[in-house]
């Protein structure tokens, strides 16, 4: 018997012969859909019916064009066309509970008899895509955080480098500033050994030695104070003392220095300035010495002034004193204002390297004022007009 003589199986037989496979398809987790090119659904497995929430509905015999169960963006026609193009694609559908699910379609077209049919294997990718999105978001977030942190670290690194440079410059300057008075002391001591010097010269040489020794001592004390303050070891000793005597002493000292430079030095006391106050006289004196000393150092013509005012709070024991130190000196460039109270960072600006002294005066004043619960601030500064600093100090007013 030839192949053409073999009887063809009937449709019923063919349908029945699919039965073992039908069971297999029904058991699969993936969704299976078989339909013809008119959109008539020939088979939809349990997984698919469950996905659509239509367990009890028979899909077989229904047409896709009746209702697009699968995508709220594509029309039924577009979906059918895409299925028969044998592409892989993703649809978005709502479950019976109203959840959006992303379905990944893999389709295969085949011909049975003269009819074109397509089989689609559909997988729910929603969790996978959610996870993918979460991973992408997390990665993006992580990248942003890494970028921010890298940027912060770069800034901190730069700051650390600058601070290191400033400290190196500071040490270089300090060694210069310590050696200079020692040079004068040694040199003038050698001159004093000579027999043939006049009394006037001898007196002058001794005066120079004394001046440089005092300057050296001040510098060493400043440096040690700064170290103590930075290590939180500086101790405040409060007691009642005469504010007026302290101011008078400062005036006497600095009038001489000002006159030597051809400067005027004025002091003005406001109304109700108390005779005596309760605070640390050494710290207060140190702060004012630094402020006035700096003002005179950096002023080459004009004047320096100290003005003292009080702000009284009725019924309170604590009052606030304000000491304004103004000068007509070289001023401080504006880009430098924020650094002026920092101990090492001022050395980032090479200009300060050329000035005599440790350069720690303002940093020390700033820190000491804080220890006294007060404040030292740069009120104004202009390279054409000079500067004004203010030292504010809460004090208890006590009679002697």
């Amino acid at each position: 018997m030839s192949a053409s003589q073999v009887p063809r199986p009937s449709k019923k037989y063919l349908a029945m012969s699919l039965d073992p496979y039908r069971e297999m398809f029904e058991e699969m987790d993936d969704m299976i859909l078989i339909l013809d090119d008119s959109g008539m659904i020939e088979f939809a497995n349990t997984a698919l019916r469950r996905q659509l929430g239509k367990n009890r509905i028979r899909f077989t015999g229904r047409n896709l064009s009746e209702r697009n169960y699968f995508d709220d963006l594509l029309s039924a026609e577009e979906l059918l066309k895409t299925i028969f193009e044998e592409k892989s694609f993703i649809t978005r559908s709502k479950t019976h509970a109203g959840e959006n699910r992303h379905l990944d379609w893999k389709t295969k077209v085949f011909v049975i008899g003269k009819k074109k049919k397509a089989m689609a294997i559909i997988r729910d990718m929603t969790e996978h895509m959610d996870l993918q999105k979460k991973v992408e978001d997390y990665t993006k977030n992580l990248q942003e955080k890494v970028y921010e942190r890298t940027h912060e670290l770069e800034k901190e690194k730069q700051k650390a480098i600058e601070l290191h440079q400033a400290k190196a410059l500071f040490l270089s300057k300090m060694s210069h500033e310590l050696r200079t008075p020692l040079t004068a002391i040694r040199g003038y001591a050698e001159l004093l050994e000579e027999d043939e010097i006049s009394d006037a010269d001898r007196k002058q040489f001794v005066s120079v030695i004394e001046k440089n020794a005092r300057g050296l001592l001040e510098m060493i004390n400043e440096t040690l104070n700064m170290i103590k303050i930075e290590q939180d070891r500086y101790q405040i000793h409060e007691k009642t003392f005469s504010l007026c005597n302290l101011i008078k002493h400062l005036m006497d000292t600095y009038q001489v220095l000002a006159r030597e430079k051809g400067l005027q030095f004025h002091c003005q006391l406001g109304e109700h300035i108390p005779e005596n106050i309760y605070s640390d006289p050494i710290a207060v004196s140190q702060i004012l010495t630094n402020l006035i000393g700096n003002a005179i150092k950096f002023t080459h013509k004009g004047k320096v002034s100290l003005s003292v005012k009080i702000r009284r709070f009725p019924k309170k024991i604590t009052q606030k004193l304000y000491f304004y130190v103004s000068d007509t000196g070289i001023g401080i460039p504006s880009h430098y204002h924020k650094r002026v109270f920092r101990s090492f960072e001022q050395y980032l600006d090479n200009q300060s390297v050329h000035e005599r002294g440790s350069g720690l005066g303002l940093a020390i004043s700033h820190q000491l004022a804080k220890l006294l619960n007060g404040e030292v601030k740069l009120l104004t500064s202009d390279t054409q007009k000079g500067s004004t600093f203010v030292f504010s100090l809460p004090v208890r007013i006590k009679s002697a």
Binding site: S172, S175, H176, T180, A184, G187, L191, V208
Partner: protein, 123 residues
């Protein structure tokens, strides 16, 4: 006794007086300037044999002075000895090696030592 002419460019008055007295005792003729700008003019006017140059000065520091000395034909060949309390090497002066003949740290020399070293140099 030496009659060499020395220009001392030093902004610290005490140190300038110290070195002037010490060197004049040993027969040097000493001119002083408080700053570099004044110093350049004096170096040329007084036809000095050597410049003792401080480095840390306001306005024009030692490097600026060296640069200016080099610009003028009358001053570019005057030998310079740096005398400073900065550690050698703090400032890069290598480009002036042809003019700077030595670097002395102030705190290590007294006026007598300074005079003695200069006498050795000139002899």
């Amino acid at each position: 006794m030496s009659q060499h002419r020395i220009l001392l460019i030093e902004d610290d008055e005490d140190l300038a007086t110290l070195y002037r007295i010490g060197l004049e005792k040993e027969g040097f003729i000493v001119y002083t300037s408080k700053n570099g700008l004044q110093g350049i003019t004096k170096a040329i006017e007084k036809e000095v044999d050597l410049v003792l140059l401080d480095l840390m000065m306001p306005l024009a520091d030692g490097r600026d002075v060296l640069a200016m000395l080099r610009l003028n034909a009358k001053s570019q060949n005057i030998p310079v000895i740096i005398i400073s309390n900065l550690n050698p090497g703090t400032l890069d002066l290598s480009q002036y090696d042809d003019q700077v003949i030595d670097y002395w740290v102030k705190s290590e020399i007294t006026p007598k030592m300074l005079a003695s070293r200069l006498q050795s140099y000139f002899s």
